[in-house]
Symmetry: C2
Subunit: 347 residues, 2 copies
Amino acid sequence: MRRLPQNPLIRPQDVAPSREDFEVAGAFNPGVGRLGDEVVLLVRVAERPKARDEAHLVAPVARPGGGIEVLRFRRDDPDVEILDERWFRYRGGTYLTSISHLRAARSTDGARFAVDAAPAILPSTPTEAFGVEDPRITRIGGDHWITYKAVSSHGIATALAHTRDYASYDRHGVILCPENLDVVIFPEKIAGGYAALTRPAPMNIGPPAIWLARSPDLLHWGRHEPLVAPRPGMWDSGRVGASCVPFRTPAGWLLIYHGADETHRYCVGVALVDGADPSKVLARSREPIMTPGASYEEHGFFGGVVFPTGAVVRDDGGVTVYYGAADQHVCAAETTLDELLGCLADA
Amino acid sequence: MRRLPQNPLIRPQDVAPSREDFEVAGAFNPGVGRLGDEVVLLVRVAERPKARDEAHLVAPVARPGGGIEVLRFRRDDPDVEILDERWFRYRGGTYLTSISHLRAARSTDGARFAVDAAPAILPSTPTEAFGVEDPRITRIGGDHWITYKAVSSHGIATALAHTRDYASYDRHGVILCPENLDVVIFPEKIAGGYAALTRPAPMNIGPPAIWLARSPDLLHWGRHEPLVAPRPGMWDSGRVGASCVPFRTPAGWLLIYHGADETHRYCVGVALVDGADPSKVLARSREPIMTPGASYEEHGFFGGVVFPTGAVVRDDGGVTVYYGAADQHVCAAETTLDELLGCLADA
């Protein structure tokens, strides 16, 4: 994985806030689409109020009718428990310190992006009150299907939206109930139906792992099966989740996924599943193909994170992987299909 | 709720173990069906090896090909963390101290049951390795649809099976991925599709609450919406889940649900949702309609639990609610539709 010299491609200061009293804390974890000659990213833009002080934590919460209410909590309140920069607990509830929407950014060379002035998808339902995050985009025919995290006090769910032009968006509600995130739809039907990688995160038993699900219509999902689990003692011992839309190779579907250990260091791996039956894992990389190393990956809103969320595969086998760095920047790295396949060991 | 004088209706000693070297630790949480003049229960039968000693914990695990392997762990192993009688942790994994299957029990008077000698549904897939539990049965036409917990190291998921005669069963795999349990299907189509109450239990944000889901075919589920959440400071402050199949009343769908506070004391409540649009909660009981009180509810495999899992509603408005008591016995209590509706306060 060769990082682009232009990294970070999009920084918070490159994005206009959605309202004057807010600032952009992060522009990261972009869904990746292609429209004509353009690469279109749907970037997760995390915002927070400019008006902050040392004594208080803020939690911006979207109202169902529109608008954002800013909740404030005293840091020294004994009922406040700070988890990390991203979230805290208060009296049994969990709150986020920023609220995200999705914003389009467009490029003809895949490296220099012009960021839209206005949001593409704003939080707008009760299950999106804490924001919409981490989109993945799968093109099927002329339809671009966008899965994204819908976050609220009810949990982290996955919702579906759809566009044909990155100008208007249809929304289809919650397709996977909490806790489910990192949901990536395969780009073609398999055995007569749609398939997706999902990432349930259970409360009591079981690790945060990649599962496979099937659907007749993209809206309703079933036939869930565990697929790729964390590996004790390895770099992906704590959790794994799908990153990019799988791409078909002669050897099978190639999955670029992310994993983290117990210290929340997020790295990147690859797995190969059967082309006709994606429930069969054929191979998996032993070592990560990418680890946080650049300063913009080690330091940021949440440091030590490389988090791919989409890729462009060219006809010559070149692959540009777009990723979020340190929950703050959009970055990209180059590789090839041959190099990715070369990383695979037997599962 | 008037407890039947015959309680407990089914005790562990009334059930033949599925193999000679096992004993039945609990017979509880029964799904309730009606077949002709009979009430048929599918009872959760929890078994464990007879061969146990004070120094060891046991974890019976079903092999995918059939058979059960018994894992043993030293209680004094520093890597063992005992959660309660039901489960323990070892090196990042969670294990159950018993393994459950489903067993039919049949009655013509609804109180005296003959328990089948052989299991109806045994754990048989990798996602059922720790057992199959807590069935709910919804009859639609001549089809009896059985949702049940499929428990394994991958998590607690919900699987679907189907019977017409309680003699043979078709299995349809996992319909809701972890963590989801207490899934109850509505007994008729609503607005052209099927509906179900589900109970996601998220890892990071959100309480274990009742959600509503929709399906075109009972196999694939979507359009998830939060419906009934725990209420801080009340008896159902910790968690809530659907108990019985909802029944239609002139006022709307009546839901008998269970809730627990932070001490894991499980009680019973009722809620009313709109007859045409079950996403609208119309009313909810302030106080529990039933709390653990009888000795067979206070003491058992896991004490302090009344856990309804099905009901029979008669034409005269009489309702027999079947429930698990203390994770050990099958019990029942009598009430009426009028009494249940009378417990409702405004939501």
